[in-house]
């Protein structure tokens, strides 16, 4: 996969500590252009947390994240955290770079959320339009006084085209929260696409979907990736789906990376088997 090209996304020695809980511990990984990479692991392993510091929702306690070769996020333990920091002292990073989530989205990363965060009271169409707002060219006065009719019209056409492409056009005037769960997940993906990303992060896209919807989802993700020329990084518990679509897989357990490799390699890996069996033991 590598072909000597630099990775699109590179996470370097990232640690995220909440109070005394180390949710992600010295985690490093890469995603290369045009790949579909999955992040798996038992509940509470720190997967969503990793997404959150990549997309600027949290600041990592320590570590760096590069996107398309440039430093996007970096932090080191500061203030009180210096004393409480439980991560690797040798991996302390020197830079500090802060970005808000919207700045990161503007760089070309878009995401969905594990617990679906649509704009619930708005129509599907407005959900998508709102996500296009960041690409607005006209300034506030132009837009507010309706002097940008051309642009407004173009935005609406684009939004309609996007929804049509995702097979969601027929629900465009429905209130987002009134739709079934599986559809809401797809709308969330469509909304993320409306920001015109090059890199898409999906947090458990199959959660709450029925088996048929899950089967369709695999094809949907692959098609979307081709249509929009995306690199995809996803978290998923549904193993069939993960093994089907991923080029490579990273496995987290208790915040640590315990394995990485192709689906075949991961299926063989004894640490992974142990981690998952361990969880099942604990649950039963």
């Amino acid at each position: 996969m590598n072909n000597g090209k630099p990775p699109v996304l590179r996470v370097e020695n990232c640690t995220m500590q909440f109070g005394g809980v180390v949710a992600v511990d010295n985690f490093s990984m890469e995603v290369y252009k045009d790949e579909i990479v999955a992040l798996i692991g038992p509940n509470g392993a720190g997967k969503t947390t990793a997404f959150n510091f990549i997309t600027g929702v949290y600041e990592p306690t320590n570590g760096r994240v590069f996107f398309e070769g440039s430093l996007m996020v970096a932090n080191r333990p500061q203030g009180k955290m210096k004393r409480f920091y439980q991560g690797d002292a040798n991996a302390i990073c020197s830079d500090v770079v802060r970005k808000t989530p919207d700045q990161i989205t503007k760089l070309g990363l878009a995401r969905t959320f594990q617990n679906i965060r649509l704009f619930k009271g708005l129509t599907v169409f407005d959900n998508v339009l709102a996500a296009m707002h960041m690409h607005l060219n006209s300034n506030f006065f132009m837009a507010a006084l309706k002097l940008n009719r051309g642009e407004e019209k173009r935005m609406r056409e684009e939004a309609a085209a996007l929804l049509a492409m995702q097979g969601l056009y027929h629900v465009k005037d429905k209130i987002a929260s009134s739709l079934p769960y599986g559809q809401q997940r797809r709308i969330e993906i469509a909304r993320a696409l409306a920001t015109k990303p090059r890199f898409l992060l999906l947090d458990e896209p199959a959660a709450g979907m029925n088996p048929q919807e899950t089967d369709e989802l695999a094809a949907f993700i692959k098609k979307t990736k081709e249509d929009f020329n995306l690199t995809v990084f996803l978290i998923e518990h549904h193993m069939t789906l993960v093994m089907d679509i991923s080029d490579r897989i990273y496995v987290l357990d208790f915040g640590r990376k315990i394995a990485e490799g192709t689906p075949a390699e991961i299926q063989e890996n004894e640490h992974v088997i142990a981690a998952y069996l361990g969880v099942e033991d604990a649950e039963s």
Binding site: T100, D102, Q103, H133, M134, T195
Partner: protein
């Protein structure tokens, strides 16, 4: 569902506007006899502007601000200070005199109104930088606090030669006809509607619905909250100026927190997130408040004094109304929908006996 075609709607709109104008013309023919009604209508129109502005921030952007009275005070004092006729100034500032630099400045009321809004907006921008990052309920307290600070600065003896301190201003330029406040209010509300319908309006709604998701969709929270706060405060300032012209004399007591609460009642009653709701409620509440004055007057039925009716009862009713709406009709009159002729048509249709009959026959409704 009835869908009127756009031509019918246009005709209805023009007819409604025409009738309103005709009514105003009729009222203006005899301003003395209709003075009371004219006053109520003017005040309602002005409150409608503040209510829509408050709704823009609270109902559409989801930021709970309670600073309305403060921004109205800024607009009102700007207009007051700059439109009192120069010859009348010594008389108004009879206690401490007027600041020399201010003595001769008198500007056109439209310019003064705009300036009032602008100053309010600048204040909002500065305050916003400080407080918009706070959680929503802290924001409410902080804006309330700022409104109090503004009020106490206006009333302070140090400001005597500018604001006339606690004595207040009088002889402010007044409206000559009902048309002026109505046209100005309509323009303000129309501009806010345009903003809300633009891409920025959608960004505001996105923030209201889910801040985290809005941010993840590339909407910068701070910029857009600041924008919403500044726009809202601009129009609140203009409305404060209009109120000053309406009242002719103001003092810092006019702009107490209760003024903000009155506006809040209008917004909640009309429906958080509905411009037309705010406008309708502004007229209902203001009109209701005037026409329900009899609640405050001692009432005798068959020679027996009803002790329930005495000064203050009206306000009890209005505050109870606020509670009832919040507890039982949380959506208010309009919810977050807007007035439309279709809505009216459907409303009437539902109550027409023929409508029911036709629906029973499997009429054209969905």
């Amino acid at each position: 569902m009835i869908r009127l075609n756009s031509k019918t709607k246009l005709i209805l709109t023009v007819a409604a506007l025409g009738l309103t104008m005709l009514w105003f013309y009729h009222l203006e023919q005899n301003p003395r006899a209709n003075g009371y009604l004219i006053k109520i209508l003017e005040r309602s129109a002005i409150y409608a502007v503040v209510a829509v502005a408050m709704n823009l921030m609270n109902g559409f952007t989801g930021l709970f601000s309670l600073g309305q009275a403060g921004f109205m005070a800024i607009g009102a004092y700007t207009v007051g200070i700059l439109t009192i006729p120069v010859e009348a100034r010594p008389n108004v500032y009879y206690i401490s005199g007027v600041a020399p630099w201010l003595e001769k400045i008198e500007i056109h009321y439209l310019a003064a109104l705009f300036l009032g809004g602008l100053i309010a907006a600048v204040f909002a921008a500065l305050i916003g930088v400080l407080i918009l990052k706070l959680r929503s309920d802290y924001l409410a307290i902080a804006t309330l606090g700022f409104a109090e600070i503004i009020r106490s600065v206006i009333a302070s003896p140090q400001m005597d030669t500018i604001t006339n301190g606690s004595y207040g201003l009088k002889k402010i330029l007044r409206f000559e006809t009902i048309y002026t406040p109505f046209i100005l209010s309509a323009v303000c509300i129309f501009m806010m509607v345009l903003i809300l319908r633009s891409s920025y309006g959608r960004a505001f709604l996105a923030i209201r619905e889910d801040e985290v998701a809005a941010e993840a969709m590339g909407i910068n929270l701070f910029t857009h909250k600041e924008l919403s706060f500044v726009i809202s405060s601009f129009f609140t300032g203009v409305a404060g100026g209009l109120l000053a012209m309406f009242m002719g004399s103001i003092d810092s007591g006019t702009f107490r927190v209760t003024l903000t609460y009155d506006i809040l009642l209008i917004v909640v009653l009309g429906g958080m997130g509905s411009v037309s709701g705010s406008v309708i409620a502004a007229f209902l509440v203001t009109g209701g408040r005037e026409y329900l004055r009899f609640f405050d007057e001692p009432l005798k039925i068959a020679g027996v004094q009803i002790s329930l009716f005495r000064p203050g009862f009206r306000m009890v009713i209005f505050s109870a109304l606020l509670m009832i709406v919040v507890l039982f009709y949380r959506k208010g009159i309009m919810g977050d929908t807007e007035f439309s002729w279709d809505g009216i048509a459907n409303f009437i249709y539902r109550f027409l006996p023929t409508g029911k009959a036709r629906r029973g026959n499997g009429g054209r409704d969905e």
